[in-house]
């Protein structure tokens, strides 16, 4: 996978939101939703981003989709700087990158029928001649496992899983290269989740799609992603290929997340001892000093309280930002930001 070209590249991206208060709307502080995030998604990869709610993973998705401008840092798509794209290049970029959103109940316009929802991007961007639009809508519905009669239904006449299929068909209508799935299955029942995940996997195989899959359910992310990055309070704390991450979690936060996933076997689950993570996620407006995770970390030392650790490579493709990782202990100097 390392040999293939990178499709989406985040380099030290910050997205900060000013907090304004008072009569003159003075800026009194900043919410650092995304605070120096770097990653590299290869073409054809399924890249997972996990973390608790409020850790900034959706802001990463919004920044990738250019719905949010980064405060600093660069985002490159197929080598091009996304923030420099304007006009037709911008439209082309929007087309290549499509999103599947979390809530299929609110993310579809209630006044449009499914057929219109799917046909609109095809029509607007002139992807097909008008005479072929209907056939294309049918093809997309079929691709997403829905009968063609669904084109005449309104979103409220469908179930959650069916709506999410419409959301996916709508995204595919633009013939994209990258799908940003922001909690795309979190709002669905577990049995429906499985169907949608299978659909996403099938589509990736058939169409050669690349995924940025954002979620908080580790078992879902593990199932669908080749590579997983764990976010905490606007930063990536650990990033590794799925199997490596789940078999050899190094950051205490990753370990706590994996420990929190219940085992489906009740006999095993009853005998399992889980140490729950103490405390709450601190406010991104006022992050803790040093390593942002130190107030909740069982291994925190004085160094963690004062100095912020950078990501360090501990295995090929496996990076972790923790002073207690073996490499960090071995090299006490300030490590340079380095991503493979």
């Amino acid at each position: 996978m390392t040999a293939t070209a990178s499709l989406l590249e985040f380099n030290d991206v910050h997205v900060h939101f000013p907090i304004r208060q008072g009569l003159f709307k003075r800026e009194v502080g900043r919410i650092r939703a995304v605070n120096g995030v770097s990653f590299d998604i290869k073409r054809g990869q399924a890249f997972g981003l996990v973390g608790e709610s409020g850790c900034g993973k959706s802001t990463v998705a919004r920044a990738a989709l250019k719905l949010e401008e980064p405060t600093s840092g660069s985002i490159r798509y197929a080598g091009e700087h996304v923030s420099l794209l304007v006009g037709p290049a911008m439209v082309k970029y929007r087309r290549k990158m499509q999103a599947v959103f979390q809530d299929p109940f609110s993310s579809l316009n209630p006044r449009q029928k499914a057929g219109q929802i799917i046909a609109e991007p095809i029509r607007v961007h002139g992807l097909k001649p008008p005479s072929q639009i209907k056939a294309e809508v049918h093809r997309l519905l079929d691709l997403c496992g829905l009968p063609t009669r669904f084109e005449g239904l309104y979103p409220h006449e469908m179930s959650g899983g069916q709506r999410q299929r419409i959301g996916i068909a709508r995204a595919l209508a633009m013939n994209p290269e990258l799908i940003v799935a922001d909690e795309a299955v979190s709002a669905l029942d577990v049995s429906i989740q499985a169907q949608i995940i299978t659909l996403l996997e099938d589509l990736q195989r058939e169409l050669g799609l690349t995924y940025l899959f954002i979620g908080h359910d580790l078992s879902v992310v593990r199932h669908i992603c080749d590579h997983v990055a764990v976010m905490y309070l606007g930063r990536i704390v650990e990033s590794a290929p799925s199997e490596e991450l789940f078999s050899n979690p190094t950051h205490p936060y990753t370990r706590a997340l994996i420990d929190a996933v219940p085992n489906p076997d009740p006999a095993v689950e009853a005998g399992r001892h889980v140490e729950p993570l103490a405390g709450e996620v601190p406010s991104p407006a006022n992050p803790p000093s040093g390593c942002v995770f130190h107030p909740r970390c069982p291994l925190a030392t004085d160094r963690c309280r004062t100095q912020s650790p950078d990501l360090q490579t501990i295995e090929p493709n496996h990076d972790v930002a923790c002073w207690n990782s073996p490499q960090a202990k071995a090299t006490p100097t300030t490590a340079q930001r380095n991503l493979t």
Partner: protein, 315 residues
């Protein structure tokens, strides 16, 4: 759908009957006697009694009500009890085009102002534009329509002499003449309505613009124009239409007052003259028609829902 319309129609008729009945008895509770007003000092007790008998006002209230109601069912609203005894239906038929022209023009003017103002202040939330729109909206809401009417007359009719201060010209005598006579009263009535609608569009649009499906629409790569007119406004108009139906009453009641300022003999002026003269049949007829306009415009709004919002099914 058909059964829904039928049921709503029957309901509307019941409401109108209740209004008419209420007005019939309330009018007669008001102190003052039409015959006394009419004859003033000219007639003695005998003449007054004769007049009462001639107009049927000597009979028991219930009997009077029964006769009026029976005639009304046959489409006869009675005649004015004054002078030439013009039939009420004729008075109303003459008045309706004036009031409706006035209200409709006021409605159009209000919408022409309110829709862009609402869009501007929603898309530029908390900017100078938004605050300016809000300022004028509150100003418009706070000004009584009759006062605004007088102000408009002073400026545009008396001082600048651009427009006539009073009167009405039917539309078949020339669109321009019709428009020239109605524009000032229409502005006077439409201002408050426009302010309400602009505020409503603003808040409704703000909600829609932050919705998930607008995010979806944006990620489809639509132009801002397509986003606004294709996705945002149609959804934002659903609550606005509800308010429009209710605020339509504001236009009609505004017309009642403003018609008097501009001396337009519409329903409002007919109603007020009728009340001052205790002209029972005229007041009853006018109120019936006003309530019909109100009830059916609200019915129309409810039916429009089904068209504008597919989630609403009318049963």
């Amino acid at each position: 759908m058909a059964s829904y319309i039928l049921r709503r129609f029957i309901g509307s008729v019941v409401v109108m009957w209740a209004v008419a009945t209420l007005v019939f008895f309330m009018l007669r509770l008001v102190p003052g006697d039409p015959i006394a007003a009419m004859l003033a000092d000219a007639g003695g007790p005998e003449e007054m009694e004769a007049m009462h008998r001639r107009l049927g006002l000597d009979r028991a209230l219930v009997v009077q009500y029964g006769i009026w109601f029976w005639n009304m069912l046959q489409g006869d609203l009675g005649s004015s009890i004054y002078g030439s005894r013009i039939p009420v239906t004729q008075i109303i038929v003459e008045a309706i085009p004036r009031t409706l022209s006035l209200s409709l023009l006021a409605f159009v003017i209000a919408m022409v102002i309110a829709v862009p103002a609402g869009i501007l202040s929603a898309t530029r939330r908390n900017t100078l534009t938004d605050n300016t729109v809000s300022f004028f909206a509150f100003l418009g809401l706070s000004m009584p329509d009759f006062w605004l009417a007088i102000l408009l007359i002073i400026v545009f009719a008396a001082n600048l002499q651009w427009l006539p201060a009073i009167g009405y010209t039917p539309i078949d005598e020339g669109l321009w003449e019709w428009f020239r006579h109605l524009i000032l009263p229409a502005i006077a009535i439409g201002t408050a309505f426009s302010a309400i609608i602009a505020r409503m569009i603003r808040s409704s649009l703000l909600e829609v613009l932050s919705s998930d499906y607008m995010r979806t629409a944006r990620s489809k790569g639509l132009t801002p124009w397509m986003l606004m007119w294709g996705h945002a406004l149609p959804n934002a108009m659903i609550p606005v239409i509800t308010v429009m139906g209710i605020a339509f009453a504001l236009l009609i009641s505004g017309a009642v007052v403003v018609e008097n300022v501009f001396a337009i003999k519409g329903l409002g002026r007919v109603l007020i003259e009728g009340i001052l003269n205790r002209d029972y049949p005229v007041v009853q007829g006018a109120v019936l028609v006003v309530s019909a306009i109100f009830v059916f415009s609200n019915l129309l709004v409810d039916l429009l829902y089904g068209v504008i919002d597919p989630r609403i099914r009318l049963h």
